[in-house]
């Protein structure tokens, strides 16, 4: 009774990629990716004009430091988890809510292929938008002369952000497959639990994704394992779960 995975996953991926452009959350993603660029342009202009000077403990903060802050606070702590929550939870939940899931469930493909195809479409979509956004912010904020030494660091940042998008998306994909209205729970996890657990002493931080993405403690293996485990769990859950569509 096992159905092939690769071919159907590719077909669902193609369908989902087109769907993603029309998804209700696309506007949010465009905003999330575009806002840092706008902020970067304004900041750079203000600093270049001398109309604004940023200082911490009396020391002037350069654009390079501002860029690093943007990566850790704006991207890793806000944009990446928010996109993961908004998009990941919607991948299957929207189809269930809109009752279009019926058309996918009555095709000769494993339900797991639906989950995997949609997840890969999500990943391609967000990576293709967020990474160029970060690269643009880097080009805008960091003076040309300082770029060389920072290039390796930026590549690492891009990798960590891609991993973050993969991990958050996978965890919230599983939530979307498992619960009827998962977005609220997802936002509570991101902006409640993760923020709290990271500042509390002890081991609670290990129960967050953010912990593994932080520069000091980043663990590529852990993030990849979280991602794979969440996607596999989502694929198994959807195979077993029945979705009662409200009439």
């Amino acid at each position: 009774m096992t159905a092939p995975l690769f071919g159907p996953t590719r077909r669902v991926f193609e369908l989902a990629l087109g769907e993603m452009l029309w998804a209700r959350r696309t506007a949010f993603m465009a905003l999330a990716a575009g806002a840092p660029i706008l902020i970067a342009v304004m900041t750079r202009l203000a600093l270049v004009n001398g109309s604004a000077v940023l200082t911490v403990n009396g020391s002037r903060i350069g654009t390079q430091a501002i860029f690093e802050t943007a990566v850790s606070l704006l991207y890793l702590r806000f944009i990446v988890p928010a996109l993961g929550a908004f998009y990941g939870t919607s991948l299957i939940a929207d189809e269930v809510e809109d009752k279009t899931i019926t058309y996918l469930f009555t095709r000769p493909i494993a339900r797991g292929a639906i989950v995997l195809g949609k997840y890969l479409a999500y990943l391609l979509c967000v990576v293709a938008i967020v990474l160029p956004s970060l690269a643009l912010v880097f080009l805008i904020m960091v003076p040309f002369a300082n770029m060389g030494p920072l290039f390796g660091k930026v590549l690492t940042d891009l990798g960590v952000i891609a991993l973050g998008l993969a991990a958050y998306g996978a965890v919230f994909l599983w939530a979307g497959v498992s619960f009827r209205r998962p977005l609220v729970g997802g936002l509570v996890f991101v902006f409640g639990w993760e923020q709290l657990a990271l500042v509390l002493p002890g081991y609670l931080r290990y129960l967050t994704i953010a912990h593994y993405l932080q520069a000091a403690t980043s663990s590529v293996t852990s993030v990849i394992l979280i991602t794979i485990a969440a996607v596999v769990l989502a694929m198994r859950t959807i195979e077993r779960r029945e979705y009662v569509l409200e009439q």
């Binding site: 159905a3 029309w22 009752k99 019926t102 058309y103 095709r107 000769p108 494993a110 339900r111 195979e239």
Partner: protein, 306 residues
């Protein structure tokens, strides 16, 4: 048998959707009749493997359907809900779903065009589904169900929202498919729609199958119930007297203007005697004989009456 269920029940929490349904559906067209909430859609969702039976079993082509996606190569489903990817054109949507059957792009495109042509939508295939009328949306749903030429078509209220002409064409399409060898399970709460497609029906009420078989067998079941006949006659009282005097095939008589309303437990005997009385002229001319029981609607109403 195409579909066989044994003691099939489906519960939504404490609410029963299907209750101990044991049926065997043969090849050909089977009509599923019942009022809203009778369990028709639940039955179809279980038979199409979207819902798992709470108890009992369901087999399609002799195999379980839940968790067995390969079965969908042989099965096409047209759901009741009005749900679509609204921004896609009819052609894009049907083609995308055909691709999920493993067809290559060329075959999927050709199959989608054939299916849209079959439901008379080819001329608007390039229009977005969001701009389709209710009837067109019903038909594009039908197109996605037939795009892969399934052996079994399961259609949940497929005629809902269609105009009379399109309704007739769709009925013809379904019958043509059946003649070509496709088995069809079609639901409706409008009896004459089903009657136009098949004599083989399954009557459902409150999650139970209250009768199954062909229309004649179901009419036979009805013979156990009083059968009401309205007769407009020149001399209604004389006619009533003759009817009551003639035998045990009349259980009650009442008058409604110039009509006699008779209830009979044995319609065949009653109609034969009425013909004799009318022919003799002893009770004057008999102008009109009507019986709501001649309509399948009345059969259904009788059977589901609590």
């Amino acid at each position: 048998m195409i579909v066989a269920t044994e003691h099939l029940s489906k519960w939504y929490g404490h609410v029963s959707g299907l209750n101990d349904v044991t049926v065997s559906l043969p090849a050909g067209i089977t009509g599923l009749l019942g009022p809203n909430g009778a369990g028709k859609s639940t039955f179809m969702k279980v038979v199409t493997g979207q819902l798992r039976p709470s108890t009992g079993s369901v087999r399609v082509f002799g195999e379980p359907i839940w968790g067995n996606p390969s079965q969908y190569r042989r099965l096409g489903f047209c759901p009741e809900q009005d749900a679509f990817y609204e921004h896609m054109t009819g052609l894009e949507w049907v083609e995308a779903l055909a691709l999920l059957h493993g067809m290559d792009h060329g075959s999927a495109s050709a199959a989608a065009r054939r299916a849209l042509d079959a439901v008379d939508l080819l001329d608007v295939a390039g229009r977005k589904i969001g701009a389709y009328s209710k009837g067109m949306r019903q038909r594009v749903k039908l197109a996605q169900a037939i795009v892969h030429d399934p052996e079994l078509l399961i259609l949940d209220e497929p005629l809902s929202g269609m105009d009379p002409i399109m309704r007739r064409r769709t009925i013809r399409l379904i019958k043509d498919r059946a003649r070509a060898g496709t088995s069809v399970i079609v639901s409706s709460h409008i009896l004459h729609e089903i009657e136009a497609m098949t004599a083989n029906i399954l009557l459902m009420h409150n999650g139970r199958v209250v009768a199954e078989g062909n229309v004649h067998q179901i009419r036979g079941l009805i013979d156990a119930h009083p059968h009401r006949v309205s007769i407009r006659a020149e001399q209604p009282r004389a006619l009533a007297q003759q009817l009551l005097a003639g035998g045990d095939d009349v259980s009650s008589v009442r008058f409604d203007g110039d009509a006699v309303i008779v209830e009979t437990p044995r319609p065949d005997s009653f109609y034969a005697r009425l013909t004799e009385i009318a022919a003799s002229g002893d009770a004057g001319a008999v102008d009109e004989v009507t019986s709501p029981d001649d309509n399948l609607q009345a059969v259904f109403s009788y059977l589901v009456k609590p």
